[in-house]
Symmetry: C2
Subunit: 339 residues, 2 copies
């Protein structure tokens, strides 16, 4: 962008000359590829053979930048992960921006650059996009939607309703980091911490798991509502009771500290680079070892199991002192705009 | 929704129990289908064979309701049309909402119901969705993103860069209606008009055109920036000079009236149900007759032609008095938040 255009104006969303400049000077510079560069109303793709996975997510995280990531990295990783957990290989994503008039174009460029890096790491192309601008006070800087398509080449049938008694539950590391990182980045709290968000594209890790076994029953990323909520969703969808062990769930000391100070339960904090994986017991150890070899799976562990089919499914947390309590779904909203 | 929940709260975007209620009680009620109802992280689809078209658009139109449509109808039709103009048959769309805390759930339901009707008319399924809620003052009621995938079953190679000298340019009716309708619906203007938005899903019309000829070179919907801007984009992408005739372009009297009063040029006003179609001259009449038979093509007409290849492509408007002037791309922004 030229020096004279340091801020987004309403004209950048007009669909006319200014919109075109923004696309050419910023978006194409970072996202360029032959499909996108055709600049037609739709991207046209030759997908690999297989079933197609399709997903969408909007991102409204506040603040835009936090330790370990930013809204752009989140937007790419979130959609890549939603495709991957279904067993799909992500092939293409779209990016739609809602920009607030007055947004610093330098901030926009940092975000776009971060998206481009995350897409590169995941190996997906941005094939189509859209930009709208709303008046000052009608958004909070920038909101991003990413949608994605992927192909299911494996003979997998993964889904929230596929958990079975006897399944072992694995997770690829510590929980609560993303939520704790975003909340400590909010200026109004006025304190610093060293907690880093775990935002990461997990498609390569997932590909490795699926190469190890074709018997993954459920895979899901534990985003909004945290580990506790995602386990409840699966328990409901599959109609099974689930049991997890508190002392097996890894929570970093810094995250624990933030939670104690602010009164949050880390099991309900959002993660942006954590998946739960449900596999039959006899393959769990092999999957675990494979996961530990990936950079995003070093702290992987087995945290629990599916106990039985149930008409009134519950998730039980076995506590350290040999007691236990029900782990409910997140009710209310401790942390708005966490992603 | 129950009587006690008349407004959207931050909890509806938490990913927890409240989000789930919103999905079950509202979105599933209107959008339900077997793929969506699985409620996994991605929809999994068996697409028809062919290349895949993929597109995205966010909608921030103000006001949310106007004569002839609303943000919901716009969001569905816009994405259906972006797929269709590439020659693709729309197969599935995703819907992502950004809701402002305090939004009346009755308004949300009207919008969702309108989306469901438009999707039904177009014959596409909503297969995945997302809901985020931002604090009061951080959005303007509701913003919607729709992304879509379609399949190119025809042996078509349609695109903005495919216009050729000798091509005849058709359009399926009057221009400027959408822009004029939205602007007169803005309360601050304080006047009433009878202008109706043309928002419509054009996939069936387009399918009929493609059954008539496999020689469509360019097809594009004339949305933001209007007819003038879309012709300029095509002229640039294809490297051709374009000539259109002012007296062939149909502008309804009411639209002309609004434009004269407010100082707009109808050729730059957004349309949400108009496509330009470039075909070789020898097939133009046949295509025209076919278009006229569709409910969204009754006022179709031939408005111009591609003159020649050009290094500095221009669009020329032949005026009624045998004069002519250059028709430039929209510069600046006469009408923010028109879609």
């Amino acid at each position: 962008m030229s020096q004279s255009e340091q801020r987004i104006t309403i004209s950048h969303g007009s669909g006319g000359r200014k919109s075109r400049e923004l696309v050419e000077k910023l978006f194409q510079r970072y996202f360029s590829n032959p499909v996108l560069d055709r600049m037609d109303d739709s991207a046209v793709l030759e997908l690999s053979p297989g079933r197609t996975a399709f997903t969408t997510d909007s991102f409204v995280v506040k603040p835009l930048f936090f330790d370990g990531g930013d809204i752009g990295r989140l937007a790419v990783c979130g959609t890549v992960n939603d495709l991957s957990v279904m067993g799909a290989r992500p092939e293409a994503i779209t990016v739609a921006f809602i920009l607030e008039e007055g947004l610093d174009t330098g901030i926009l460029e940092r975000i776009v650059s971060s998206m481009s890096q995350a897409a590169e790491e995941a190996g997906v192309k941005v094939v189509a996009g859209d930009t709208k601008v709303v008046e000052k006070g009608m958004a909070d800087g920038i909101y991003i939607n990413t949608s994605g398509i992927g192909v299911l080449p494996h003979n997998t049938n993964i889904g929230g309703a596929m958990a079975k008694p006897g399944d072992v539950i694995l997770i690829n590391g510590a929980v609560g980091n993303h939520g704790a990182s975003v909340i400590t980045a909010r200026e109004e709290l006025g304190f610093k911490s060293t907690v880093k968000s775990d935002a990461a594209p997990l498609n390569h890790l997932i590909e490795e798991i699926l190469q190890t076994t074709d018997r993954v029953h459920v895979m899901r990323d534990a985003t909004r509502g945290g580990l506790a909520t995602v386990l409840n969703e699966i328990s409901l969808q599959s109609g099974v009771d689930i049991e997890v062990f508190e002392n097996r769930i890894y929570i970093q000391d810094e995250v624990r500290g933030v939670c104690e100070l602010l009164g949050f339960d880390p099991l309900y904090l959002a993660n942006e680079g954590k998946i739960v994986v449900f596999v039959p017991e006899d393959t769990a150890e092999e999957v675990l070892q494979k996961m530990k070899k990936n950079r995003y799976g070093r702290d992987s562990c087995i945290i629990g199991r599916v106990v039985d089919n149930s008409i009134k499914p519950v998730v039980t947390l076995k506590t350290a002192g040999r007691g236990s309590r029900f782990l409910d779904m997140l009710a209310g909203e401790p942390l708005p705009r966490i992603c």
